[in-house]
């Protein structure tokens, strides 16, 4: 039995020295250490031997197994290391890495959606909620509730697309601005209010490079007990910095919208020339980006907010214009003609 073990050992060592690769090592392992190997058979048979033999054979067989296991493990490590060395030294697996990769179709959001999302994100961070509203509106919400009764000259500020309705029905229109949502939000909630409303608006307007019959606006409204013009300034200044860069300056000038008082227009200093005057800012150094103001007390009264208790500010901006300014786009019609060669750039 002992001779047999010696024989196994010598054969095993002999074969081991001539192994070429990992597979052969596995074959070797099965042959000498596997369940059906001679060595395993011997070890299994140890129990049936005499006590004397059990001691010597058992000890030798176990010793041999442990030796072979160590050898297996050492050889395995050496072969692995050899394989790693081969990766470094042979050209196996060489690829022309300048070949293009396998193309994956890339989807994108429409540029106006990207701008809506980005701007809404800024206002959400400033504590505003995003809500949307109907695009087909009653004259009441689009005009009358906003201090623009029929026959008011300010109606000229919004050329309107009217819906064909049966005679005697309340006048219905495509909203000309997102401001009707000021009324709807205030009708449905109590102060404090802080919302922004993105959405499509419509104008009876011949289209050209700077005019569209459909475009996006974003309305903002904040109403509470102590909202001041300084809060309006601060909020919009913060917005301008986050969207156009922290070095931006803002400028407010008096302007008129019937549903705010005082009313202003906000401009940012030109981010191309830094205020020196260039083509983008028509030489003025300033770029007008939005209209704003303090919510008119008559508007508050109309939604049963007491103007002696509550004040608020509102603002509205055209979103294509913002996108156009940021990317140097000169024709607004590009947005809704949806040429993929345009859409893919954003």
């Amino acid at each position: 039995m002992i001779e047999k073990l010696a024989d196994i050992k010598s054969k095993a060592l002999d074969e081991l020295s001539s192994l070429a690769d990992f597979n052969e090592l596995e074959v070797w392992r099965v042959r000498y250490l596997g369940k059906k190997s001679e060595l395993t058979q011997i070890l299994r048979g140890v129990a049936s031997l005499s006590q004397e033999q059990r001691k010597t054979v058992g000890a030798s067989a176990n010793e041999l197994r442990s030796n072979l296991e160590v050898l297996y493990s050492e050889n395995k490590d050496a072969l692995k290391e050899q394989a790693f060395q081969d990766v470094e030294t042979t050209a196996k697996g060489y690829k022309d890495i300048s070949l293009p990769g396998r193309p994956i179709p890339l989807g994108r959001l429409h540029p106006i959606t990207q701008t809506v999302n980005e701007i809404c994100g800024i206002f959400v961070a400033l504590g505003f909620q995003v809500v949307e509203g109907p695009e087909v509106e009653w004259d009441y919400y689009n005009f009358e509730a906003l201090n623009i009764p029929p026959d008011h000259p300010a109606r000229d500020m919004w050329d309107t697309l009217w819906i064909d309705t049966e005679s005697g029905q309340r006048p219905m229109l495509l909203r000309t601005h997102t401001s009707p949502m000021q009324i709807r939000v205030m009708e449905q909630t109590q102060p404090p209010v802080r919302v922004v409303v993105p959405g499509k608006v419509y104008r009876y307007e011949a289209t050209d490079a700077t005019h569209e019959s459909m475009f996006y606006q974003l309305e903002g409204l904040a109403v509470d007990e102590y909202i001041t013009f300084a809060d309006l300034k601060g909020t919009l200044y913060e917005f301008a910095k986050r969207l156009f860069g922290k070095e931006r300056r803002v400028r407010f000038r008096c302007d008129y919208f019937p549903f705010v008082e005082p009313g202003v227009e906000m401009a940012i200093d030109c981010f191309i020339c830094g205020g020196k005057g260039c083509r983008l800012c028509s030489g003025t150094g300033w770029i007008e980006i939005l209209g704003a103001g303090m919510v008119h007390p008559d508007v508050l009264r109309r939604v049963n907010y007491d103007p002696e208790v509550y004040t608020g500010f509102a603002f509205g901006l055209g979103l294509e214009r913002i996108h156009m300014l940021r990317y140097g786009i000169e024709d607004i019609r590009l947005f809704y003609s949806n040429d993929l060669r345009f859409l893919r750039q954003f």
Binding site: G127, V136, H152, D164, Y202, A230, D255, G263
Partner: protein, 793 residues
Amino acid sequence: MKTPINWLREYVNITLPPHELARKLTMSGTDVGAIETIGGWENIVVGEVVAIAPHPNADRLKLATVDLGSERLTSVCGAPNVAIGQKIPFAPIGAQLLDAENGERIRLKKAKIRGVASEGMICSERELGISDHHEGIMVLPTDAPVGIHLDEYMGDSILDMDLTPNRPDLLSVIGIAREVAALTGETMTTTDTKYIEAGESIVGQASVEIHDPDLCPRYCASLITGVKIGQSPAWLEQRLLACGMRPINNVVDATNYVMLEYGQPLHAFDFDNIADRKIIVRRATNESMYTLDGVARDLSDDMLVIADGMGPIAVAGVMGGAESEVTESTTSILLESANFNAASIRRTSTRFKLRSEASLRFEKGLSPELPLPALKRATQLIAEISGGKIASGIIDIYPGNKEVDPISLTTKKVARVLGIEISYEKIVTVLESLGFQCTLIGAGELQVARPYWRTDVRLAEDLVEEIVRIIGYDELPTTLPSGALPAYIPDPFRALKMRISDILVGCGMQEVVTYSLTSIDTLQRIFPQIAPLKVANPITTEQEYLRTTLRPGLLQVLSSNEKHEENGIRLFEVDKVYFPRAGDLPEERHMLAGVLCGTRHNRSWHGESDMLDFFDAKGMLETLFEHLGLVAVFKPTDDTTLSPGSRATIMIEGENAGTLGELHPRLAEYFDISIHPIILFEIDLQILLTATTGPRQYHPIPRFPVTLRDIAVVVDAKTPAKSVQGIIEDSPLVMMVTLFDVYTGKQVSHGKKSLAFRIEYQSPSRTLTDEEVNIDQQKTLDRLSKELEATLR
């Protein structure tokens, strides 16, 4: 509106350069859009014609000797109107002017005209770039100082302003001058209107009645007899032209001049053509009249007219009538200066599509205090330039005379709106500079009376704006709202839309945004049975109806892009469609639609690609639904916009959520798309929203091993694979079923197909034995055989 700075100077001292003045006006609300410069003439001076001699060689030409102060020069002149004693603009040799023929800048060269050397040129208005007048030389006012540069004498800057509709008072030189005074700390120059009333009393010669005082709060009139109608003096014509108005005759020009100066429209009637010498201000009956533009106008009873003893002679505040128009033969003028109801004027002018200078002012709400001073000024001017005699007295009917209550303003209110304390002294200084009168009635409380021209100021907030627009918004602090956060207003559609868009973008889909308005023709191709909402005043027929489906827009985008796209096109839109509701706003339904076509993979060296097909779109939608936690069932449909055989209704929780299929070739042709196939889907987000609402719970990861079995069954080719799979999935031991092969061909009999499934058996609570799985599988096969006549292959 255009306002020459020199005209402003008559009312206020201006020391600022024009661009600085423009900036101050713009910041305070009077938007100066452009500054035009009159002048920039080189070397052109004021001269006086001192002698005229005939040209020796030409009958039409004259030799005019012009005194320039320092020298006398002779010019060959062909103008018919040249005369001794005239002050004229003279261009000596070397001066720059505009060629009267082609308008180009030229430098005057020494030249002989028909044998006589001309030492310079007397200029026409066209040669100076002032107007198109070239019939004769330009004649300057007699007091023009000889020898001075024309630039110095009549160069000017004109402010071109975009005014806001709340400030009719700014549609006047005086109004702008008041703003300038307040912005620069100057005081207004007051001018006195004085004239001699040499004629008989107007009372007795003419009368005025107001029948509708609500539409005409005030009517003032004066009478001037013995006028001579002719051309206005040059200075007056120049001012009108500078303001963009065309001179007509001295009387009409005077009314326009005073309108530009005071902001009050006036109208001159030929007094001899006023029947019964009687003015009646009343609503029209069903009558008609010819307006000044020669158009017959049908009047209705909501319109205000000026009538005489016979009938209407003017559409009040909008346009005069042809019959009482001032003509060359007019000798007596009845001058009207009145106040009309703003809304009524706007309605009438809108109805007639007549937006005159007068109606544009009246519709904004002029002060009823304005007619009187404007009338006096115009009466004076007409008498001055047309040589008439002014009847004594003025007719002034003023039924709308109302006291205007003062406005209470507290420093606290100012602080509440602006967020900063402004001292009472500062407030008073600013308001008084704008013509308001302030009375202190308590600690920090003022009573403020508005000046008559500020009809727009009504509330304390209006006064706050006046204060801040003058001191400047830069003076205000910058803070953020400090109150509590508002109650949450959920907008579930927005959240769902954003989620869906993100998933689809991840699937390689490009979002598009298309017009909500489209043509009736495209809509009827999709939903012939639905009558969409119509726009009453569409811009084009292509944008006349509100869409009831997103499909036309997507297909149009596809059509316009397919020519220049080499690779597959995958588009989607998530937006609203509009379904009419009787007597109410339409239902604005949120939809998702998409189209896919072209090659599945972009052209590359990795190999040829198949075309995108029905199952690409279906797979994507299944991915979307899985992401949203929804189970969709696709059932056959008969949607005629899709090709038979490749069209499905998408059922979610038993509701019809939309359709998916291959575009019918008829529609592809209509939308001019040549690529094939086009896969299209449109889904109602309301159904998805309802189905995704509610709590979702996680399932523990199974701990026990899976037993895999592959089976292939042969069924009738028309049996839906989903029916076979449904039966297999029915077993409680089956965790997952994957269809991995569909085969028709020689190996199975005709009209049959083979479906191969991998079935995963798994229990959440124990390890399944082979025997259990065998029994279960046999049960499934028995059911398949019984219900679908399926055989094991």
